[in-house]
Each structure stands twice: as structure tokens, then as C-alpha cells.
Amino acid sequence: MVSDTLEEPVLEVGEFYQLLTAHLESEFGRRRPHWVRGEIAKVHEKGHVYVDLVDAGSASSDTKRPVLNAHCWATPWAPLKRKLAAEGVNLKPGMVVSFFGYVDVYAPQGKIGFAITEIDVEGLLGDVARRRQELILRLANEGLLDRNKARTLVPVPLHVGLVASPGTEGYSDFTGQLLNSRFSFDIVLIKTLVQGEQAPAQIVGALESLDEHGVDVICVVRGGGSKGDLACFDDERVARAIALSSTPVFTGIGHTGDESVADLVAHTRAITPTKLGEELVAMVENWYDTNVRYSSQRLLELSTDVLDEAMDYLGERRRTMIFAVRDRLRAEERHLASTRERLVIQGRHLVASAAQMLASNRQLLGAYDPVRRLAQGWSVVTDANGAVVKSLGDVTSGEEIHVLVSDGTFGAQVMQKKETPS
């Protein structure tokens, strides 16, 4: 065995690689391209891009799984990268991708690799969409799509946390709406990248800081762009940070029609940064209308009502008093008049009764009139002094007396006295 082995020519390393390359090229053809499909295990970009491709679904713990060291030199990579970025695709571990390229032996590093000349973008997009859908499903299963929507929004969200990149159109559109409104919005800005590889981590940090800061609402704002520009808002870390924020998170990302995973998990989603600003202003405006403007109107109306009511009350009491007093006085006048009338009638009755009594007395007295008695033959005897003689004792025998009769008087003398037998 040893002698047989020694019979083979001894090759220098370079010669070995030349031989190897010749064998490979005879098998694969020189730079004859092939499609290779696999899962990205590692990706590294530094001008050129280097990708470790493994069989899809193989376990990373399997130390014997085949690995293809693929690379794409900077020149062919630049247009491919632009194409991928336009569709929002960044090569990431876990992606299943098909590369078009050829076997490439790189002797300086002792590597047999695969030089990429083309990437199946359509297939990759399908994979990205699938992965996005899987993320949405995962978030839904964990109840994270509605978690932030359940956060209670204060009635007047004036203290606004803002995750945005100052100087961008989206930032200006959003802040313009707030600052040009008649309300005093207090904006706490945390600057972040809003596109690129570093953006998700910065956005997550900003969301967490603002959540701790204690704002009324956190707004994530980004103007329109390519799918690649907006890809960071489909990032799982960003989606989870929004969903788990204890503060309601509003999004205004991209143009009409763009819907990121961030939009899906947000409390409220507006189609553009401008619309988000408008919606926030409208919320405050509605509250103001309901609670301040309407209350002011009601206050004015009710104040007027109270005053009018008080004026009506006093007017009515004044009139009532006047009528009450007048009625009372009239009642007294009527009572007095009635009393007066009763007194007059009663007086008349009394006078009539008295007159009748007088007439009766007069008639009675008439019976005792001396003139009538004299005319009937009665006479009145008086002594010398004019005193009426009523008894035998009033005169003495021989005394001169005067006798009054109906038509005159005459003198007489007492001849004898004789008592009337009892």
C-alpha cells in the first residue's frame, strides 16, 4: 500500500487545487450555473455577502449536516441587494432561498464554495410572506394582536410619545398636525432609525423608554417608502414591543395600502403620519366639543334660564303681593260696608221700635191726663198755698180752699170733715 501510494505524483498545494478545480469543472463545467436551494444558517455582509446555506429543516445541532459556503461578490451583489430591498427582503438566518451560481474553489482559504450570481426573489418573497403570515399567526395565538388595543386611552391624549426620525417627511407631517392645532400637545421624541437593519432594535428601545416615561400615547411614525424601507415594521421584536407596551401605541406608517405587522398589533392604526396627526387632534377636538364647548353652551343657556326664572318669580311675587293686598283691603272695605249697612238697618229698627213704644206710652199716659179727668167731672182742690189737698188732714174746718174744674176755679170753705168708712 505504501509503495503504491508513493508511486502517485506528489503535488504542491497549488497544483492540488488546480487539479481539484479541473475535476470539478469537468464535472460541473466551468462556471456552469446551478440552482441550489437551502436555508440560510449564517449571513454576513461586508461589501461582499457571505452566506452559509444548509438543508432546509436540518438541525443546527447536527454537526455533520452539509454546509455550502456561498458568497456574492460586491459587483453582482449590489443590484441584487437593491432588488431585494425594494421588496423589503433582507437575507436573514432561517430564510429558505434558492441561489443561482457556480462552484467556486478559493484556494487562499482552502474553500470550495458557491459563487452567487442570481437569487430567486419571487421564491424568497413567497418565503418572506409566509414567514410574515407565520409571525401574525403566532402573535394571534399568543393574544398579542389585541393586547395593545385593550389598553385604555386617556380621554385627552395631549402628552404624546413619538418614535420617529426627525427631518423626515413623516415626522414633519405628523408633528405639523399637532403643532398647528389649537391644542397644546406635549411631544416627547425619541429619535430612531426608521429603516434598515438597526431600526428594529432602536424602535424597540424607544417604545420601552416611552412606556416607562409615562406618556398618554406612543406614536410610531414613518413616511412612505419601499417595502424594504418599511420592513423594520414587520419585525417580530417591534411587533412584540408594541403589543406588550402598557401605553396605547398608535401607528402612522407608510402610504395608503401599506399594512405592517406593527399596524396589526397597534392600538390604533392610521394610514399615514398625516392621518395619524389628524386623528389625534380630532380625538382631543371631540373631547373638547363634548366636555368644554357643549358645557359652555349649556352653562350659558342654564345661567340665562336661572336668571329668567328668578326674574319671573320676583315679577310674579310682586304681582301676587299687589293683588293679595288689594284683595285683602277690598275684603275689609266690603266687610265694613256690610257692617255699616247692618248697623243702619238695625238702627232704623230700634228707632221704629222706640217710636212705637213711645206712642204706646203716650196713649197710656193720655188716660191719666187731668184735663180729661176734669172734663169728666173730676176736680182738683188746693189750699191757700196751692198745695193739692189729698187727705182730710191737709185741711181744717173753716179753711178756705180753691176748687179747679174743667172750665175754671172757684173758692169754697171747709164746713165739716168726715172720714170715709173703710
Partner: protein
């Protein structure tokens, strides 16, 4: 007018006077005194009302500004 109480108490006193008239409880001797008291209350309340109204009219443009959303 200083012995006129707060609005509601004064209104109650005024109502009681009017009620005593309505029920014929006021004698002629009391009539003038009650009428004078009622007049005092009404004049005091009217004065207060005029003052309040003037103050409200002073505030109205300010509230109206809010109500009109200016």
C-alpha cells in the same frame, strides 16, 4: 335690606307672606307690616338679581368664546 337672608330663605319667607294672604290670615293691623316686609324682600332680591345678571353678562362673552370654539 341687610336683614334679607340668602335667596332661597328669602324666597321662602316671601312665599310664606303670600300664602298668609292667600289663606286670609292677615289682619288689617298686620297687613302694612307684611306688605312692607314683602316689598323689602322683593327689592333686595331684585337688586341681587340685577347684580348677578350684570356679572353674568360680563362673563358671557368669555364663555361664548369657548362655546363658539374660538
Amino acid at each position: 335690606m341687610s336683614d334679607v337672608h340668602e335667596w332661597n330663605d328669602a324666597a321662602n319667607e316671601l312665599n310664606a307672606i303670600v300664602a298668609s294672604f292667600d289663606e286670609g290670615e292677615v289682619s288689617v293691623d298686620d297687613l302694612f307690616a307684611k306688605l312692607e316686609r314683602a316689598t323689602t324682600i322683593i327689592e333686595a332680591l331684585e337688586a341681587r338679581l340685577a347684580t348677578t345678571k350684570a356679572k353674568v353678562e360680563e362673563l358671557t362673552p368669555r364663555i361664548a368664546k369657548v362655546a363658539e370654539g374660538e
